[in-house]
């Protein structure tokens, strides 16, 4: 159905809801996306479970399920004293998955928030100002987006790691702070593109013209009009950013470039990396449970992102 037909249909049906704010309308549309709503609940449950790890975890991060003197405790398949089995030095995989998810969520959220802040700022300014700044930003992102992601990530990681003052501020390349910094450096580009496109399309609209005519400054325009109007794409970017950082952390860990979250702590990436050899040895529980935790996060966020996209941009929706 063409868009004009849709809107005339809305009009005839009395759905064009001048009475409902765009935000409420989007919220209602989001609720019709069943997979997304279920995902919100599942994700919320997981996050809650992880946040409550002092109570929900059964062992300490470095604690063995029982002392080696009582018998072999390594690589045990799931049992009632260790629901997800034990790892190579007899620690409880279930508890470690909880701790790992906690670290990964922190990395994901922090990176996504920084990317979003940085990307929105750069994208909005590039879109509003145009000219040379815009050109440079777009070319830089072009180059990075065209490059194999992992290569760019590794090269930039080592390059920043070699720069003294950067490591002073964000720590060594193996620190979590450095990871967050690295992912933010990569993450802003996607956000900036989205925001810039949004700004360019909003710039065409008359209410921005009107604001300009009334003598509003650029900064005012950004804050008053552009950002509220970009809330949809920004939420989508945020959710994708969280998953992107978590998966990137896991990928880096897989090849030995991951974080070292300090004594005995772990991350999803480190757990996944540990599973590489476990897979060939046939210790499936060492792979399956961390994967499951990771997949719950990526799948939920994926569906939530899809729901948000449909909600804020119904035209591109369609199938559930």
């Amino acid at each position: 159905m063409a868009e004009s037909e849709l809107s005339s249909l809305d009009a005839s049906v009395g759905l064009t809801a001048e009475s409902l704010s765009p935000g409420r309308l989007a919220y209602r549309r989001f609720l019709t996306h069943k997979a997304a709503v279920v995902s919100v609940f599942v994700l919320a449950l997981l996050v809650l479970w992880v946040l409550l790890s002092p109570w929900t975890a059964r062992y300490g991060v470095n604690e063995q399920v029982f002392d080696i003197s009582k018998g072999p405790n390594q690589n045990l398949p799931p049992a009632d004293f260790a629901w997800f089995g034990t790892d190579i030095i007899g620690r409880d995989v279930y508890s470690r998955v909880l701790y790992g998810v906690r670290v990964s969520l922190i990395i994901g959220l922090a990176s996504a928030v920084f990317s979003l802040a940085l990307g929105s700022l750069i994208g909005a300014v590039a879109g509003l100002k145009g000219g040379l700044f815009d050109d440079i930003v777009m070319r830089v992102t072009d180059v990075f987006l065209a490059f194999p992601f992992l290569v760019a990530l590794l090269v930039v990681r080592n390059m920043f790691g070699a720069v003294g003052w950067i490591t002073v501020i964000v720590g060594q390349p193996s620190s979590i702070r450095f990871m967050v910094f690295l992912f933010a450096v990569f993450g802003w580009m996607g956000v900036a593109r989205v925001l810039r496109a949004q700004v360019l399309s909003l710039k065409e609209r008359e209410f921005i013209e009107a604001a300009r005519a009334l003598g509003a400054s650029n900064a005012r325009i950004i804050i008053r009009h552009l950002l509220p109007n970009s809330i949809g794409p920004m939420l989508v970017s945020l959710s994708l950013g969280v998953v992107g950082a978590i998966v990137s952390e896991a990928t880096l860990s897989l090849f030995g470039y991951g974080p070292d979250p300090g004594t005995g702590a772990t991350s999803l990436g480190l757990l996944v990396a540990g599973s590489k050899s476990a897979v060939r040895a046939g210790y499936w529980w060492l792979a399956l449970y961390p994967f499951a935790a990771l997949l719950v996060i990526t799948l939920c966020v994926s569906f939530i992102g899809d729901g948000l996209r449909d909600a804020f941009d119904p035209k591109h929706g369609g199938g559930r």
Binding site: V151, V272, F303, D306
Partner: protein, 327 residues
């Protein structure tokens, strides 16, 4: 058309030079080639180190970087490539094999992804909101949400380790192109070794293309000229192929060109986990060793491929869409 292509092609060289220079700087900063050289070749003579510096142009200072880059470039162009730091072997024969292996894996996986993905996308777009659309759409979301290392390791667990346990043999091998020690060409073995990596890569591209094609075709199907086409009284088949698909394929083709260009450097995770001797593994090993003489030619191949296919994508776009056919 030709003029447009030529005008774009003129930019190929400057872009290559600029990007390789940036990569040169980034690699020198990031891998510290000299330290890696000393680490790999312990107790190496001062003379050898100086030779290494001269061969790779690893001079210090801002000017040293520029001079070093052009010296490296000259050596690269005249095919006078410095030898690898590990084992001091020639780079090209090794790189060539890696390239061939990656192209083989990448092309097969891309073909599967493009064909299957687009077919799914078309099926979904033709019945928007119906069951098959829902299946394709959510299937693609799931496919995109599964990181390649997860599918790679799960496939290994199932088809190699557990298959071995249950049936006494591994259905698919988990590493390499051939079993260790194998000599000569064997298509069957090659396919067997490639099967799991291809599946891992294809899952992603099927997901990407089915979504992309679906969106593109839906856009076209909603356009006014589709109604005009139907109003002519031509067959529905002709309407779909000649009018809808012809337009929907424009963005999809562009994406396919970009993808194929990225494929040689884009399979690092898959190649790494399957110990597949392609470009990705070449990079991981070389990067791990800080092997500057191996990394630079690798980068040139990757960048060259990306830039060239970018150009081809633009040309294809201009060829398919008369609206941007510029003089």
């Amino acid at each position: 058309m030709l003029r447009y292509a030529l005008r774009r092609a003129v930019w190929l060289l400057p872009t290559l030079i600029l990007v390789t220079f940036l990569v040169y700087v980034a690699l020198r900063l990031g891998t510290d080639p000299l330290a890696s050289y000393r680490r790999t070749n312990i107790r190496v003579s001062k003379k050898k180190v100086d030779e290494y510096i001269a061969a790779n142009g690893l001079y210090s200072g801002a000017f040293g970087y520029v001079r070093g880059y052009f010296q490296w470039l000259w050596g690269f162009i005249t095919l006078d490539w410095p030898r690898s730091i590990k084992g001091s072997r020639e780079v090209w024969p090794h790189l060539k094999d890696a390239l061939a292996n990656s192209i083989r894996l990448g092309l097969v996986a891309s073909m599967v992804g493009i064909l299957v993905g687009n077919a799914f996308g078309v099926l979904a777009a033709l019945r928007p909101g119906r069951l098959r659309d829902t299946l394709v759409n959510s299937g693609a979301l799931v496919g995109l949400a599964v990181p390649p290392f997860v599918s790679a390791l799960l496939l290994q667990l199932l088809f190699a380790v557990y298959w071995q346990k249950w049936f006494g043999y591994a259905l698919f091998p988990v590493s390499g192109v051939y079993p260790p020690g194998h000599q000569g060409f064997d298509l069957f073995l090659m396919i067997k070794h490639m099967a799991l990596p291809v599946v891992v890569v294809a899952i992603q591209s099927i997901a990407v293309y089915s979504r992309y094609m679906r969106a593109s075709l839906l856009d076209v199907l909603n356009s006014e000229y589709m109604r005009t086409a139907r109003s002519k009284g031509i067959s529905e088949r002709r309407v779909l192929v000649h009018h809808a698909l012809r337009n929907a394929l424009i963005p999809v083709t562009t994406l396919a060109f970009l993808d194929v260009g990225a494929v040689v450097g884009g399979l690092i995770i898959t190649e790494g986990l399957f110990e597949y001797p392609g470009m990705g593994r070449f990079f991981l090993v070389a990067y791990g060793n800080g092997d500057f003489p191996e990394l630079m030619p690798w980068m040139v191949v990757i960048i060259g491929s990306v830039v060239t296919f970018n150009l081809l994508a633009d040309i294809a776009y201009a060829k398919l869409d008369p609206r941007i056919r510029l003089g």
